[in-house]
Structures are given as structure tokens and as C-alpha cells.
């Protein structure tokens, strides 16, 4: 049976549900030397700000168990240069751009949305309100429902394409934040950004990162990301979700779909394997096929419901009733 990976997110159709994650594929050009970016679901570009930005001091990276910390601090060219160079390249190349924007005030987000409103070809806008690498953690809009909502509604009002809000897992109640941004008009959610972490160098006796703290990513955060997707999908089953965090195989992608994501984004795995995305697409197709499925949509949120395969009539599937009783 042929699997059709076509995926629709907030009314926009993509060839498949595997995207790059913001900040992990720049604007696609360098990745394209390894992987044909036109074959991807889409390219989520590095969060762009209104003005050019130098970012945080080095070292900006620390490898950790099954993950890494980064403190890039949103280094980038600013929206003008992005619109002059990066976006045209992606469009000419035939890729599907999802443009991620970041700001430090509602006004900045508004101006970014306005700058994007007049360009064609942007598939979605992702509003990064959750970058942990800002000097003042008070700026993390995604940690406060009201400020998160203010940003999203400003972007929504000024956009022609669907708007996804990217949330931080570093909150006590992610469902509450999700509710706030959905009420403010978000058409979908991207879950999750990195988690704030710290690494210490036993040699220098100091934090490894120049910025002291950084964002944790990679397989280390996958269970947290799955939990966030699960909770938000349970509360808002009709909202399209990008599952993000530690995806490196088709099975990881499958797990995110089962938890309630409609698509996934791949970040850190690209650093180790710049050809990871086509592989993940293939593996996901195979995983669906093996389960007798033809479309990814058939399993979105499936883990919340009755099992896909009903156990045949017969002995207790757990095999040992006494163990169950004891447990």
C-alpha cells in the first residue's frame, strides 16, 4: 500500500510532515549542499528580528548527555536583509518557507509581520516567543499568558498567512499558555523550544557557555516535548501542532504524531547528520506502511484513543494477572 505523506496544516498543504526547526538550518542554503531542501515538508528559517543582531558571546555551545546547550542569542541579519537575500533564495529554489520571527516588544513583532505581509510565498509564520537566549529572561513572552497573547494577536492582525506560536516548555502550565495564544488568534502551535539549562567546566571551574545559561535540545528533551504535545492536544484536539524536540528517526516522528502533532520539526539531529530529513521522511513512510496506514493524518493523536490494533480474544494480554493485581 502506498503511503501519501501529504500534510495539511491550518489549511496549507505540504508534501510531507517533516520540517527543519528554526535556528538549525539557517535559511536553507547551507543545508541544500547536503539535502535537496525542495523535498522537505518545509524550511523553518532562523528566527529573524527587525534589525541585525550579533548574538551572545562565545562559547555558544556545550555538548551534554544526548543533547546540547546553545546560547546563540538570535544572531541574524535582520528582516531587511532576510527579505532581500534569504527568502528570495528559498523561493527561487522552490522550497516551502516557514518564516520564524522574534522580537523584544509587541511593536517589533508587529513590524516584522507587516514586513512579511507584502511578500508572496511565505507558507506560514512561526512566532518565536520562547527563545531562552535573551539577556533578560523577563523578555520570554511565552512565560506569561498575557504577553504571549499580546504578541500573537499583533502578528495575527498583520498577517495574511496562518500563524503558529512557538512555546517554551519552561512554564508550569503549557496548556494555559496555549489557550492564551489560541484565543489571541494563533492558527497552530509549535511545541517546543529549548529548555533553559547550564553546563559547568570542571577544568575552568566556570560555566561552559559565555552567556552562562543556554537552551537544551536534542533527544534529551524528547520526553518533555512529547508530554507538551500530549497535554496541548488533549485540551485542543483540532489545533495543528508541530512536534519539536529530539526527533532523529522516523519512529520519533511517529511518536509525535501519535501524541497529537500533525507534523514535526528536526533541529539538533541535523548537526550530526545533515541528511537526516529525507531519511526521517522515508522511515516515517515505512513506519506508517508497516502499520497498514496510508496517511500521517490517520494517526494524529491516536495514542489518546483506543489502541490501533485490538488485541485478539484470548488470555490476558499482559500475561500475568497476579502481577497486575499486585501493581
Amino acid at each position: 500500500m502506498a503511503v501519501d505523506l501529504t500534510t495539511v496544516l491550518a489549511g496549507v498543504e505540504f508534501a510531507n510532515p517533516v520540517f527543519t526547526a528554526s535556528g538549525c538550518a539557517a535559511a536553507g542554503q547551507e543545508l541544500d549542499t547536503f539535502t535537496d531542501v525542495t523535498t522537505l515538508g518545509g524550511v523553518v528559517t532562523k528566527s529573524v528580528m527587525r534589525l541585525p543582531r550579533a548574538g551572545r558571546p562565545t562559547p555558544r555551545m556545550a555538548e551534554t548527555a544526548s543533547g546540547m546547550l546553545n546560547s546563540i542569542g538570535l544572531q541574524g541579519p535582520g528582516i531587511e536583509a532576510f527579505l532581500a537575500n534569504d527568502l528570495p533564495w528559498l523561493l527561487e529554489r522552490g522550497a516551502r518557507p516557514v518564516v520564524s520571527i522574534a522580537g523584544s516588544s509587541v511593536q517589533e513583532y508587529t513590524e516584522l509581520a507587516q514586513a512579511l505581509r507584502d511578500v508572496d510565498g511565505v507558507a506560514l509564520i512561526e512566532v518565536n516567543i520562547s527563545c531562552p537566549n535573551v539577556e533578560d529572561r523577563g523578555h520570554v513572552f511565552a512565560c506569561h499568558p498575557a504577553s504571549a497573547a499580546a504578541v500573537v494577536s499583533a502578528v495575527r492582525r498583520n498577517s495574511r498567512v496562518p500563524v503558529f506560536a512557538k512555546l517554551s516548555p519552561d512554564v508550569t502550565d503549557i496548556v494555559g499558555i496555549a489557550e492564551a495564544v489560541l484565543t489571541a488568534g494563533a492558527n497552530g502551535l509549535s511545541l517546543i523550544n529549548t529548555m533553559l539549562g547550564l553546563a559547568i567546566d570542571p577544568g575552568s571551574l566556570r560555566p561552559v557557555l559565555g552567556a552562562v545559561t543556554g537552551g537544551l535540545s536534542g533527544p534529551a528533551i524528547k520526553p518533555v516535548a512529547l508530554r507538551c504535545v500530549w497535554q496541548v492536544h488533549a485540551a485542543f484536539p483540532d489545533v495543528p501542532i508541530f512536534g519539536i524536540g529530539g526527533v532523529r528517526t522516523g519512529t520519533d516522528a511517529l511518536e509525535f504524531l501519535l501524541a497529537g502533532a500533525s507534523a514535526v520539526q528536526v533541529g539538533t539531529a541535523l548537526f550530526g547528520d545533515p541528511t537526516a530529513l529525507p531519511r526521517i521522511m522515508d522511515e516515517l513512510g515505512t513506519a506508517l506502511d508497516e502499520r497498514g496506514l496510508t496517511r500521517p493524518g490517520e494517526i494524529v493523536g491516536r495514542a489518546h484513543r483506543s489502541p490501533l490494533f485490538v488485541a485478539p480474544e484470548g488470555p490476558d494480554p499482559l500475561g500475568d494477572a497476579s502481577l497486575r493485581a499486585a501493581g
Binding site: 543582531r53 546553545n70 523584544s104
Partner: protein, 297 residues
């Protein structure tokens, strides 16, 4: 136009120990043919089930286009952590995952010139191939090779074979002269009538070489080593402040715009900081810093 890069499972052809280092020769068709001195390659480490996600980058020590084993590259592996130690334990027949060629190579002088090459520790790796390439162009090559001790000194024979004068130094005097390459460099430059300097090694050494070259009014090229997450330009971890031809300093990626830079362009004193006059820094012309957060706007 960017040349296609390759990533492939590759067989380890041979290994050789030298002091604390291991030289690995791996099969690298598609990569070896394109490598120029100063380019690097990256390897996955730890095997398929590993929790080490990031690749390790190595300057190419030697690239063979058509050897007995076909196209191969040699890398000099210094045991700096568990990933590099894993790589150093690979044996002939083992498979590794290699990507390249990465980064920008050294630029060679247009016409024959007197080149002085300065190496610190495993920084000698890209300079040996460079010496060969320079000599093939009719350049005079002089070498200063140094390390903290004999165990960390590599490539002495190759340096001697490919140079007019070779000065060999260790900080503890365990091999060659006692001292640092930068101690003997002014004298060497004078004697050799050097016209261009090339260097690879620790940042402090590169800064000193760039400074000494500038004092003589001669150009220098330095290959830096910054920590890298991706090695191919997508993550922005590997940046350092570099002054452009337009006079503006930018935080530049050493994996794609480097690792080789003009010595004079690198703001060595500011490495590890974001200088206030850097493009996009707080208060600079392209100021992108946040305004104070005012609560629920």
C-alpha cells in the same frame, strides 16, 4: 556557487600512533579529490546508539586522490574528550561517517613568495599539505613547529622535508629547542626574508603570529579552532569577531567563512566577547538589542 559536499560511511584504512595523537586514514571518495590545505572534514563519533550527537571536526592532514586504497584522507586525532578518544580507537575495517570538504582553505600567493609556517601542537596538520602546495608553486617555505612537550609534537620530519629552515621547539625542552614558536619567529622571519605567514594552533599563538607579521608589514593567514556544533554553517555557534573589507566587524562563522582568516582581520583581543562596535551589537549601528521589557504591552 557552493560545491556539493559529501557525507558517507567510510572505511578506516589504517591508523598510526604518534605521541598522544592518532593518525587515521579513511576512504573518502568525492571528498579527497576536492580537499585543499586548510579544509576540514567532520566525523560522527560514538557509534549509532551514541548519546554524542555532534560531529568532530579535523583539519585534513593529507588527501590522496588516487592511492593504493583509492581516494583517502588522513586526519590527526588529538584525544581531547570521549568523542575523539572513540575515534582514535577505530581500527582498519571499521566504518566511520565522514563529511566534507568543509571550510575555506588557505589562499596561496599568486607568484612565488617566501612563506613562513607556524604550527602549535596538532595545528601542524593542515600546514604540512600547505607546505607541499607552496613548494609546488615555487615558494620558499620555512617552518616553526612547537608543542608543550615531545608527546604533543607532530610532523617534525614532514616539516623538515618540506622547508628550508625548520625550527622545532617544546615548552619543556623535551624535544628540539626549549621555548615557544613565537620566541624564535622574529629571527626566523628576518633570516628567511619571509613575505607571508601561515599559522595554525592555539588562539594566543595565532594572535602573536598575526601581530609579528603585521609589524613586518606582511600578510598572514591563520586557521582558527572554535567550538562547532554543525561545521557547515547552519547553527552560528562557531563565530568570532572579524573585521571586513568595509571596516565593519561582524561575528563571522569560522566553519564556512573560515577556519582560515586574514590574520589582520581577526579581532583576537575580543574573541569570546561581542565587542560593542560589532555589526548588530547593542548600541552599534545595527542595534538589535531588546528595549526594556514593559510587562504586558
Amino acid at each position: 556557487m557552493v560545491k556539493p559536499k559529501h557525507i558517507r560511511r567510510a572505511e578506516v584504512i589504517s591508523y598510526r600512533r604518534s605521541g598522544v595523537y592518532t593518525v587515521l586514514t579513511v576512504s573518502a571518495p568525492g571528498i579527497a579529490e576536492q580537499v585543499r590545505p586548510g579544509n576540514f572534514v567532520s566525523f560522527s563519533v560514538g557509534g549509532e546508539e551514541s548519546g554524542l550527537l555532534l560531529r568532530r571536526a579535523f583539519s585534513v592532514l593529507r588527501a590522496e586522490e588516487r592511492g593504493v586504497y583509492g581516494a583517502t584522507v588522513d586526519v590527526l586525532v588529538a584525544p581531547t574528550g570521549c568523542g575523539t578518544r572513540w575515534l582514535a580507537r577505530r581500527r582498519p575495517g571499521d566504518m566511520v561517517d565522514v563529511a566534507g570538504p568543509l571550510g575555506r582553505p588557505f589562499r596561496l600567493p599568486k607568484s612565488p613568495a617566501n612563506a613562513v609556517l607556524v604550527a602549535g601542537g596538532y595545528g601542524v596538520a593542515p600546514l604540512i599539505g600547505l607546505a607541499v602546495a607552496l613548494r609546488a608553486r615555487g615558494c620558499r617555505v620555512d617552518f616553526a613547529v612547537g608543542a608543550s612537550n615531545a608527546d604533543r609534537l607532530f610532523g617534525v620530519l614532514d616539516a623538515k622535508r618540506n622547508s628550508t629552515i625548520a625550527r622545532v621547539l617544546t615548552e619543556d625542552g623535551s624535544l628540539g629547542e626549549r621555548g615557544r614558536v613565537t620566541d624564535v619567529l622574529p629571527g626566523l622571519m628576518e633570516r628567511a626574508n619571509s613575505e607571508v605567514a601561515y599559522a595554525c594552533g592555539p588562539m594566543g599563538m595565532l594572535a602573536a603570529v598575526a601581530e609579528l607579521a603585521a609589524q613586518r608589514g606582511m600578510p598572514s593567514q591563520v586557521a582558527v579552532e572554535e567550538s562547532m556544533a554543525c561545521g557547515f554553517g547552519v547553527c552560528m555557534t562557531c563565530v568570532l569577531p572579524v573585521a571586513g573589507a568595509d571596516g565593519t566587524t561582524r561575528m563571522v562563522r569560522s566553519c564556512v567563512e573560515g577556519p582560515v582568516f586574514e590574520g589582520e582581520s581577526v579581532r583576537f583581543a575580543d574573541v569570546g566577547t561581542v565587542p560593542s562596535d560589532v555589526y548588530g551589537a547593542a548600541g552599534s549601528p545595527g542595534d538589535g538589542e531588546p528595549e526594556p521589557y514593559s510587562g504586558d504591552a
